[in-house]
């Protein structure tokens, strides 16, 4: 108890210690005049004190409130702390959040990044300098010089030099300008293009013009390369999504011959399972929320596999040897599953958020952001493919599965219970679809219609690859992904999609049994 009181006292004292911002500077923040508010932010940033940083952060997070008479308060846990005095007390009457919009947010960010350039934390400095790179102006040049003088870290120094050069592009001194242009020859910052372009055509100085032309050329070729690499990555990433969506179908349709129109709904159930896992974590294990996916994967696999097994036992097992009828029955199943989800969870989408470690990305080649969630999904797709391949080709179960699918009756005659294998295979295919659903939940909507968006593509991938050919499925997904991503910048998303469909039609003419056609007598 005593300890707690002491702690409280310390906190209060700390609050007092912060009381150092002139209320006159603060006043416009509570007001309506946008320009005055932006100016106030700049002034606060210029203070460059801990208190200023604290205030700006709080503003950014929406933790600053104002009374109608223009006093500012930090609000936390039903307590209000006066920004100017640091006095903490109960919440005053009529407290309302200080409204910030994009313009103000931009101003705050700018002010903060200037402040953070001198932060002792390397990561913060790096972030600040990276931010500055987007828009360094001549006005900021002195600040940048100051930072350069202090900076020890070589990486940041290099960046700062580029930033300084960017700022100096606007210098009235032709020599400085030329030096800046030359220094930027290794930059891959696309934002420089407009400035460089103007310099090439209209800079007063001949030397600057030449240098600018040179730098612009270097920049353009670097950007072109980045774009190419970007397209390759986007293609792989799209391919991994197609693959995860299609893999389950490669089993239930490719291997078992069931025209499984409910495949999309299995994806959806996987995604909803993810949602439920997330909710469960939020409720019972909020500290571990970052890792809810670790639970969602097995859960989705098990839930969808069980749903699949239930479907197999009740409906599909009556339809072996009548593949076309499976289309009708599974269509019915798909209607029921969709409506069931609609009745339980509502027709609207539900929210599934990426864990923090999956948000953001790593920047390569200067400007290409490879998103973590995309990378995670590519890796995940590879793992799932490898797993499926191992099960089908390296285990006895896999052998039995393939045997039953080829000749159900004879498999029985050698002692394999085809009923059991059918059930397990469909369960496996469904479970894999569930895993696909987990992945899809990280990229897009989770709603009752989720599956409908993927069913056509999934069938195209499986068929294009050659029914029953796992390797074909993988290659087909990759091919479609890359083709799509290289066509899209040229033709636009709509025409690209049309082109891909036409490509599929033409490709099948050349390979009427898909990419990995079964050859020889056994194909008949």
């Amino acid at each position: 108890m005593l300890k707690k009181l002491l702690l409280l006292a310390c906190l209060l004292y700390a609050g007092f210690a912060r009381a150092a911002i002139d209320p006159a500077v603060l006043a416009p923040l509570a007001g309506d005049d946008p320009d005055a508010r932006v100016a106030a932010i700049a002034k606060i940033g210029a203070l460059a004190t801990d208190e200023a940083t604290h205030l700006l952060t709080a503003l950014q997070n929406g933790d600053v409130y104002a009374t109608p008479d223009g006093k500012l308060y930090f609000v936390a846990d039903d307590k209000a702390t006066d920004v100017a005095t640091g006095a903490t007390g109960p919440m005053p009457e009529g407290l309302d959040g200080v409204m910030i919009n994009n313009r103000l947010r931009g101003a705050i960010e700018e002010a903060m990044s200037a402040l953070k350039m001198f932060s002792p934390d390397r990561a913060q400095r790096l972030a600040a300098v990276t931010e500055l790179q987007k828009s360094a102006t001549l006005a900021q040049a002195p600040l940048i010089e100051k930072a350069l003088a202090q900076e020890k870290d070589t990486d940041i120094r290099e960046l700062l030099q580029l930033v300084a050069a960017t700022a100096n592009l606007q210098s009235p001194d032709a020599v400085k300008r030329q030096a800046a242009v030359a220094a930027l020859v290794d930059s891959s910052n696309a934002n420089l293009r407009p400035t460089l372009q103007t310099m090439v055509t209209s800079d007063a100085d001949e030397g600057v013009r030449v240098a600018a032309a040179h730098t612009l050329q270097a920049l353009d070729s670097r950007l072109a390369r980045t774009e190419f690499v970007g397209n390759v990555f986007y293609g792989i990433s799209l391919a991994s999504v197609l693959l995860l969506a299609a893999l389950g179908l490669a089993i239930t349709f490719g291997l078992m011959g069931i025209i499984n129109m409910a495949h999309g709904e299995l994806l959806m159930i996987g995604a909803y399972t993810t949602y439920l896992c997330q909710m469960a974590f939020r409720r019972w294990m909020p500290d571990a929320i970052e890792w809810y996916l670790a639970a969602a994967l097995p859960a989705a696999f098990i839930v969808t596999a069980l749903v699949g097994i239930a479907l197999e036992r009740t409906v599909i097992r009556w339809l072996y040897g009548r593949p076309l009828e499976t289309l009708l029955a599974t269509w019915g199943i798909s209607l029921i599953l969709m409506q069931a989800v609609r009745s339980i969870f509502g027709a609207q989408n539900v929210e599934v958020s990426n864990p923090a470690w999956m948000s953001g990305g790593v920047t390569v080649l200067g400007s290409l952001v490879l998103a973590y969630n995309r990378i995670a999904i590519i890796v995940f797709a590879l793992l799932v493919v490898a797993g499926v391949w191992l099960i089908l080709n390296k285990t006895r179960l896999g052998l039995f599965v393939r045997a039953v699918m080829q000749n159900r009756r004879m498999a029985g005659c050698v002692g394999v219970s085809s009923a059991k294998i059918d059930m397990m295979t469909f369960g496996l295919g469904s479970g894999i679809a569930g895993l696909g659903g987990v992945a899809l939940s990280q990229l897009g909507n989770v709603g009752p219609d989720l599956g409908q968006g993927y069913i056509v593509d999934s069938f195209m991938v499986v068929v294009l690859g050659g029914v029953g050919q796992l390797a074909g499925t993988v290659i087909a997904a990759l091919g479609l992904g890359e083709a799509n991503k290289f066509l899209e910048p040229v033709a636009g998303a709509v025409l690209a999609k049309i082109a891909i469909l036409i490509f599929i039609i033409i490709f099948i003419q050349k390979r009427p049994q898909g990419l990995f056609a079964m050859k020889g007598r056994s194909a008949e």
């Binding site: 045997a403 498999a411 002692g415």
Partner: protein
């Protein structure tokens, strides 16, 4: 070993087997004879459980297996070489052979005994070819090898020599003889190749229009009465 009692079978409304009974002991080979379309294959399918019987019973070593599914009968010790080979067309030869071991477990389930390669050397050469790519006769050999690997108590062979070259037919004959001599297996051989059947069988049964019309020990196979049922 095998007791079949008065089994009846219908395809829809056509009565294909009419009260067929037979009995086969361990270590013996029985030949099942009859013209085309009399119901031999149908009978064998009923024994394997591929077709249901409408009346009668099938017992294996005294155990009633009439209601068992094919895979349960396989596990009970019956192996089957069907007419038309029924190879797993898209599995390799090796995998087809492994399927013959489906009823086994543990290490035994993964070891293909070398004997089958001695009997059918071509299989060894073509271990990684797809079953469906083999020639007709090669497939037939594969089907027999697959059944032998199961080490069954009762092996059912539906026209095993169909499409096989003469020299290998002789080898198959030798194997059957050997199995018979070993005495731990019963063999039910449906065969059109009369001389072959006669040479190997201890006893025989002749079917005609779904009924047993003649049966007896091997010696009686040459009776004109028997031959009459086989003539056109």
């Amino acid at each position: 070993m095998l007791q079949v009692e008065k089994i009846n079978q219908y395809y829809g409304s056509s009565h294909t087997l009419r009260g067929v009974s037979l009995e086969l002991e361990k270590g013996k080979c029985m030949a099942l004879l009859g013209r085309n379309g009399v119901g031999k294959t149908t009978l064998l399918k009923c024994l394997m459980g591929v077709l249901p019987v409408s009346a009668g019973s099938v017992k294996l070593e005294g155990r009633d297996i009439t209601k068992l599914a094919p895979h349960q009968r396989a596990r009970a010790g019956i192996a089957y070489v069907p007419q038309g080979r029924e190879i797993f067309a898209r599995l390799t030869v090796e995998e087809n052979l492994l399927m013959g071991l489906a009823t086994h477990s543990g290490k035994k389930a993964h070891t293909i005994k070398g004997e089958v390669y001695e009997l059918f050397p071509v299989l060894k050469e073509m271990l990684h070819r797809r079953g469906g790519d083999l020639s007709g006769g090669q497939q037939q050999q594969l089907a027999i090898a697959r059944a032998l690997l199961a080490e069954p108590k009762l092996i059912i062979l539906d026209e095993p020599t169909e499409g096989i070259q003469p020299s290998i037919i002789k080898d198959i004959g030798n194997v059957i003889r050997l199995l018979r001599q070993r005495g731990d297996m019963a063999i039910l051989l449906c065969e059109q190749y009369f001389d072959f059947a006669q040479e190997l069988a201890d006893q025989f049964v002749v079917l005609s229009r779904g009924e047993v019309v003649a049966s007896g020990a091997q010696a009686a196979m040459n009776d004109p009465d028997v031959k009459r049922h086989l003539a056109v």
